[in-house]
């Protein structure tokens, strides 16, 4: 999947680092952020395909990130990851049209597969 652009928002630095390290060799361009504000300004500047966001964060939390992106950029796929996955939060995310929902610890392979699937269906649908 060369050329696809991914944003990772997680206040755990290692999460962004690991996703970046795992996905860049496959041609993805990954940018990582520790909170949502700078990620939003990047989104305003350039086009991205996927946003991976943590749910529980200080300031703007993952649910706000999901809603904001789905409103402003309906084409951008949003994947949510959380260390404390409750049924309620999953249902709430589904209602806000989340494209993927992962409980930590995240299997990077599964995450990659999910992204690939999302982008390919998007392409075939387009």
């Amino acid at each position: 999947m060369p050329g696809f652009r991914v944003i990772v928002i997680d206040d755990e630095k290692i999460v962004g680092q690991m996703i970046k390290v795992a996905m860049e060799p496959e041609g993805y361009q990954v940018e990582t952020f520790l909170n949502a504000e700078p990620a939003f300004s990047r989104l305003r500047e350039e086009k991205f395909d996927v946003v991976i966001t943590d749910l529980k964060m200080k300031g703007i939390d993952g649910m706000d990130v999901l809603r904001t992106i789905k409103t402003a950029y309906p084409d951008v796929k949003v994947i949510m990851i959380t260390a404390f996955a409750s049924l309620d939060s999953a249902v709430e995310a589904m209602k806000s049209k989340v494209d993927g929902f992962f409980a930590k610890p995240v299997k990077i392979k599964e995450l990659k597969e999910c992204i690939q699937k999302l982008l390919s269906t998007d392409e075939s649908g387009a």
């Binding site: 206040d11 390290v21 610890p105």
Partner: protein
């Protein structure tokens, strides 16, 4: 005997007062009625008196000038007088009684008879006629003056009676009011005392209510309500504890979930990208894994401290020593961060009964927080003092750091609440607060964003007799 209820007492007192007023009113009415009767008679008597006076004048004319017509004039006046008396007999009888009325009538008849004798030419009766006329006048005068005196008596009597009943009513009313207020106030004081004891949770100290009046009932009701409230409170406390455990577990899952995820991702990439990484990178990955496990270990340790607090070892301690020791431990950090520190330790403080190790932990926790919130040039000030009002020793840590915003302030003692991201467990202040509470102390905070923060710890004085020796003050 069953105690009279306040309500019944009020009714009884009011009934007594009403009875008194009715009796007074009746007596006053009676007196007035009597006076009226007398006055009505006086009117009649006045008429009779003037007619008698005219009779005597005519009598004089008869004897002096021999006017025969004067006699018939007198006779007609006598019959008019008798008729007047007959006509107003009920009033007259009521006013002067039967005896006096009969005597008046017989006097008039006697006068009429002697006049008749004089008319037929008996000159010897002149003295008799004069005597009879005189008698009538005298008797009439006697009756009117005695009646007047009686009217005065009645008026004076009712005046006294009215005054007396007024005083009596006033006394009863005031007496009843006083009695009631004393009783009601006494009852209220009892209720207030009971309510106060209930508010302090000291049900046992409430004297058992023997009385069955309103106050007794109110106190019993209060007591029952308080017991019920306590039961409910215990149930609520249980529910809250369960909820707190829930929050704790959720917090633990989240806190441990993050480093666990980091380890997992590091390990996955380590395996996946092993061949593409050099040895340096391999070591870096493993070190990061090691760091993350340490993070988990730290959380578990804090959690264990919280869950199974070691039995505190309470000792009589001089708080200034503990403050000095804690300060020495963070002195290095303070120097590195380029902060000013000031110790203001009051001498001769009463000693406190504390677990020195735990309190030192609390102080270091607070100091570390302050250092983290401060920038080079900021000032830390540690003060100890005795507050005689609360009989407690106070330790105050004030900094000029970035302060805590009002939205965050209410949460700083919550478990797992941290502003330090991954480097904090969010348990420091939570555990510290628990420790101070366990020492029967208090921990307060006031803060203003951009100005600074001030934490105050209050610890109860151990023993008023066991004051510690004045200690040396050392600053930095």
């Amino acid at each position: 005997m069953k105690q009279m209820k306040i309500f019944h007492k009020v009714i009884a007192a009011n009934l007594a007062n009403i009875l008194l007023i009715v009796v007074t009113g009746f007596l006053a009415y009676h007196s007035l009625d009597k006076v009226l009767t007398k006055l009505r008679f006086m009117e009649i008597a006045d008429g009779l008196s003037s007619s008698f006076l005219e009779m005597r004048l005519a009598e004089k004319n008869f004897f002096l000038y021999g006017e025969k017509s004067a006699l018939s004039d007198i006779q007609s006046k006598i019959s008019t007088a008798i008729k007047t008396i007959e006509r107003s007999k009920p009033d007259v009888l009521r006013a002067i009684g039967v005896a006096k009325t009969t005597r008046l009538q017989s006097n008039l008849e006697n006068y009429s008879r002697t006049l008749e004798q004089a008319r037929i030419g008996d000159t010897t009766v002149q003295a008799k006629v004069r005597a009879a006329g005189h008698n009538i006048m005298e008797f009439m005068n006697y009756i009117t003056s005695s009646e007047r005196a009686e009217v005065n008596n009645i008026i004076e009597g009712s005046e006294r009676g009215l005054f007396l009943s007024f005083v009596l009513i006033l006394f009863t009313a005031v007496g009843v009011t006083l009695l009631l207020s004393v009783r009601v106030l006494g009852s209220l004081t009892r209720i207030e005392k009971a309510a106060h004891l209930i508010s302090e949770g000291e049900f046992e100290k409430i004297p058992p209510e023997k009385s069955s009046d309103e106050c007794g009932m109110a106190v019993s009701a209060l007591l029952a309500m308080a017991r019920e409230l306590r039961n409910r409170e215990e149930q609520m406390l249980e529910a809250r504890k369960l909820a707190a455990i829930g929050i704790l577990i959720a917090g633990v899952s989240h806190e441990i979930g993050n480093p666990l995820n980091n380890i997992s991702m590091l390990a996955q990439n380590f395996v996946e990208l092993y061949d593409r990484m050099d040895t340096q990178e391999h070591i870096e990955y493993v070190k990061k894994i090691e760091d993350e496990t340490e993070r988990i270990q730290r959380i578990v340790k804090d959690l264990l401290d919280f869950a199974r607090p070691k039995n505190p070892d309470f000792q009589e301690t001089d708080i200034n020593n503990v403050v000095n020791k804690s300060m020495r431990l963070v002195q290095n950090m303070i120097s590195i961060c380029n902060l000013d520190s000031l110790l203001d330790l009051r001498e001769g403080l009463p000693s406190v009964y504390i677990d020195e190790h735990q309190i030192q932990g609390v102080l270091i926790n607070l100091l570390t927080n302050s250092i983290h919130a401060s920038s080079p040039g900021d000032r830390l000030r540690l003060t100890t003092r005795f507050n005689p009002e609360s009989d407690r020793v106070e330790v105050e840590l004030e900094d000029t750091g970035k302060g805590i915003s009002p939205e965050i302030l209410p949460h700083i003692f919550d478990p797992f609440f941290t502003t330090k991201g991954a480097s904090g467990t969010g348990l420091g202040l939570f555990v510290s607060y628990g420790i101070i509470k366990n020492h029967k102390g208090e921990m307060r905070v006031r803060s203003e964003a951009g100005v600074g923060t001030c934490f105050t710890i209050e610890l109860p004085v151990h023993n008023r007799l066991g004051r510690s020796e004045p200690c040396l003050v050392s600053g930095s």
